[in-house]
Symmetry: C2
Subunit: 690 residues, 2 copies
Amino acid sequence: MADLSQNKKDLAHARTKTSFDITDMTNYLYGGVDNVEQRRYIIDLIAREPVFNKDDWGWLNHTDAVKRGIAMSARLAEIKMEHELNDLDFATMVEAIDDTLPILLHNGAFIPVINSQGTDEQIEKWIPLAENYQIIGCYAQTELGHGSNLSRLETTATFVKETDEWEINSTSFTAAKWWIGGLGAMCTHAVVQAKLIIDGTDHGAHVFVVPIRSLEDHKPFPGIQVGDIGPKAYGGFNKMENGFARFDKYRVPRENMLMRFSKVSREGIYTKPPHAKLSYGSMVLLRSVLIRQMALYLSRATTISTRYLTVRRQFNNPTNRNDADLNPGLETQVINYPMVQNRLFPMIAQSYALFAAGSQMMEMYINLMTGLTSGNLDSLAEVHAMSSSLKSYCTTIGAAGAEDCRKLMGGHGYSYFTGLAHMFASIVPSNTYEGDNYVLTQQMARYLLKEVKTARTTPEKVTPFSRYLLLALNRDSFSRTTCSVARPEDWLKPEIQLAAFEHRCARLAMELSDAVEAGGGLESSSSKTWSDHNIECYRVSHAHAQYVLVLWFIQSIRAAQDPESDESRRAQPESIKVLEKLSNLHALHTIQTNLADFAEDAYFSPSQCLSLRAQVKSLVASLADDVVGLVDAFDHPDFLLSSALGASDGDAYKRLWDKAQSEPLNQREVCDGYQEYIRPLLKKHGDIKM
Amino acid sequence: MADLSQNKKDLAHARTKTSFDITDMTNYLYGGVDNVEQRRYIIDLIAREPVFNKDDWGWLNHTDAVKRGIAMSARLAEIKMEHELNDLDFATMVEAIDDTLPILLHNGAFIPVINSQGTDEQIEKWIPLAENYQIIGCYAQTELGHGSNLSRLETTATFVKETDEWEINSTSFTAAKWWIGGLGAMCTHAVVQAKLIIDGTDHGAHVFVVPIRSLEDHKPFPGIQVGDIGPKAYGGFNKMENGFARFDKYRVPRENMLMRFSKVSREGIYTKPPHAKLSYGSMVLLRSVLIRQMALYLSRATTISTRYLTVRRQFNNPTNRNDADLNPGLETQVINYPMVQNRLFPMIAQSYALFAAGSQMMEMYINLMTGLTSGNLDSLAEVHAMSSSLKSYCTTIGAAGAEDCRKLMGGHGYSYFTGLAHMFASIVPSNTYEGDNYVLTQQMARYLLKEVKTARTTPEKVTPFSRYLLLALNRDSFSRTTCSVARPEDWLKPEIQLAAFEHRCARLAMELSDAVEAGGGLESSSSKTWSDHNIECYRVSHAHAQYVLVLWFIQSIRAAQDPESDESRRAQPESIKVLEKLSNLHALHTIQTNLADFAEDAYFSPSQCLSLRAQVKSLVASLADDVVGLVDAFDHPDFLLSSALGASDGDAYKRLWDKAQSEPLNQREVCDGYQEYIRPLLKKHGDIKM
């Protein structure tokens, strides 16, 4: 018979088996003890505030949730001001709050856009007001009829010379702004993307600061119809009001156009911006941040799943490795089943790989921006392609992983109280926003096609991450290349793993290049030809992203044991040993999941395919004693996890029970609707006596 | 500039390109015109009732949703009685309602369990009351601590000889019944699974009819603590109250044990059931029904996605094949992008394959039951394995497909108003209930291992669906077998497709058999050994399911053109032509998705892999003019789709706008929370004058 405290015992016992120091691992993940402590401090700041309590989230409807979101937004703004927190700490607060709020685009887009596209005078005018939350802004780009295709936006801003104003107008039904976070209820201002028109000439999309609601009574100004677009999939973004707006020849002053790059004079003379691609930096940043976010999300999902599956027992089974020293009469811990381990542990390895990738990508971004500031645009194309490719791949595995962690938890996994359903609903739109994950892969493919040309003409100029293309310059010898694995343990050599990824990327890139050239080449090709290649773009871009993730994880571990490295990046030998297992598992499991790409050109032999699968199984098994420690090292406190099943004490059943008892439906003995519906049905054929 | 009615024009225009008669295709899908008309009649019956209106579902919280669910349940019961509807029509009503209701387990489990496990007297006592809804029942098996492992349930029913009663008891915290649909609020009775104990001897789980709530005031009886377990993932099962119950030595009369098979006499003498596996029939039924449901779900998802992507336009693109005869100034219909087609069209093909499989599986079930009635258990093992294997695979692709259809719709796909989010939330638990999709694959694997033995000893006794095992009896020649595709068009031959699937299944089954034998054989092997093979069980079971789906779809098309076939299964030559394309696409796309399984043993050569991918692309392109007609043929009315973006008139933007306007948040000019939260924040630093 199950013992109430068995859950707790099981998790505590599993922790004793950890082979490494958890604190050391946490420091490695977050880049040093200072970062770890600051993150804890900030999360605790949020956890102490009643408005951020998550206990009733499961039964708020959209209307109530938005009201809560507004309350949370106001408090978030106050805390930021009270503690004078920087952007990084603000991001950690948002992580701790764990929901999208109407105010997020104020800090995430409104302020950054004014800062980057406003003149010094405009910055001086708007930014202090925004920093003090005397105005609350949002960013209005997407329309009912247009999202990806910026150049076809239908909102216009027409210059009215007589009054020195812009007339903002929704020129058609589909011109309505749509999906704008914060516009539906909370914001007072919006930065609006609209086509700039002077004397009938369309100069393309530009940005304008547009007052939306009165600062006195919050009523929308005449000429603006504004509201909420309704609930979102899976209850996601529930506390965010995503708004719509229609402008009816609404006037704003000329100086409300942000004029750092393009300008319009009092006379209506338009001046073009000097560089078209300078705005790429902010896209790179948003995508880089998403990679880091996926590390945080997937690590939370695996934490919850690992802990619950450690305390959940089902069926007697002699596999009871971890149980042998406990009560042998107990059923097997579900986490001991190889099928479960082979689904779950690779996701733990992915989480670690994503942590490494998040740091590397951010470093790349910072180097890019340092370069841009000094006029160096050399790495812009590569970094932009890399962030696009990684965003697509990482958010794909992040969302899929959160859902698979939930499914791994079996029946109870379908309860809202896992915490994972809310998480999935928050992650999955990232597969679509900041560039649809399929469309986005074209960026890396275009970049690689240019690199193929460079490889053929000036191979020394190929950038490090696409140097693999040089392997395939001699197509004959390349097509005869095979994997050098002779014995199973060869799979554990990083250089063999990387060689396999490089071979695959090179082959796919060359095949794409051949196909494009057969269609007349990249420059001369029509869009028709290009869109016919998009399936192959997707393949090669994800192949490249996987290669980079494997590479960066390997490099991060090398740095962690390099005495030359900064202390904050280093780890103890016991940690290194487990990290190497994780890196091997991550690399080989990624290969296994995409095995056709490695086997279809006979780079792998049939026997190598078999030994690869065996090696993955064996790596998975070797991690069994460490997984609870590995997820503890992610350092996600219970407040953040908000999960009855994944709390740090392991008391899953008790917490699940308690959560159910607190539900509004259970506060009355006889349900609402009994008199109205149930009783008439039961009594339709008269009374019975049982 | 987009024209308001362009959406409608686009969809209407796409319809004109259909190459076949839609009515003929619909009749093929549903097995004849009578079935089509009956389904329409029933759906219309539901659509006309205000209580089933779906317009406000997106903003109901769980408490309000349950109340609505109770109202809907009562009306559903009344309609069933008023119109004297049979089980099939009841299922169609539930399809039309499109949500899980507290009353569903009354008809879906309570009544069937009593009918199958009750004695004639018990049936006579309980069934009329249940049929008249004078009592409302549910089925209480799962507990907080046990789901899959029935034998370890902790609820006990102890015989009390003195009073001729059972004492039902929750013997521990984890013994609480959990997840029981209808138990939380609506039901008056439950069929409870509990361990039968007489004089301290445990006779295992048996079923008992247990009164839960008073028929007079609906209050739970003393000794029973009952309530709702809380909201579910993604807002799924929102109108269903899934209940918990704890029994504190609660007494019911001896005759409330269902005694058709096992019996307990007045003296407390226990009699065992004659056959252990007779209850498999109902599991087979539930799983077979799920396959049919997946056809209905995935066809709805593809309907919504296909229609919206036909009217959504984004970017100018010379690919404008379908647009060339329209206004060339318009942007490209998103459905014209090859990447979109290559994701969407294979799911349309899958939907058609699932329709065929749903019918075949149901036929298999009916034949099984006919056999069982006459004492023939021959096909029980095969049909049970088949239904398990197909349930696992079909519900996996059903849930994944619904979500991919949603993602295909880009930004607007994340709106609740697509109708797809609600659908995913309803489908995805099917990956877990009626047997977890991973665990369940062991059934087919066990069955195939037995068939391998049969193949080796008495090959003539191998059943038709596993005859492929005979291919691999001579392992040497088998391992040298390669695919016979020489020219690209060879891929379109059904026999070549089936040969590839058979080769793959045979190889995986034999490898599994070798591994099991290396571990000491199936009978002698410990569970440890078995659970170490579960990854391979999953692979071989899904491979088998894919083979059967491909086979049944091919057979269904052959039957449709066979003059000997029943009229209800036939189709016109124009329909056959498109069905053959769909079947080819389904087979080849399934191969492509699992290409490693076909390439890793060199059954496919590198050039065959390349030509396969090319053939899939070409099949996809060939369906472009027919997809709108193909989804129209699914015959899902707008009421059922409940989608702003997928309605039959194509007026997506208008409907999305209208839905947003109806939302509660938009019924007031200034949002709730302004005075309390927003104004104090804005005024914190004093008034400003803009």
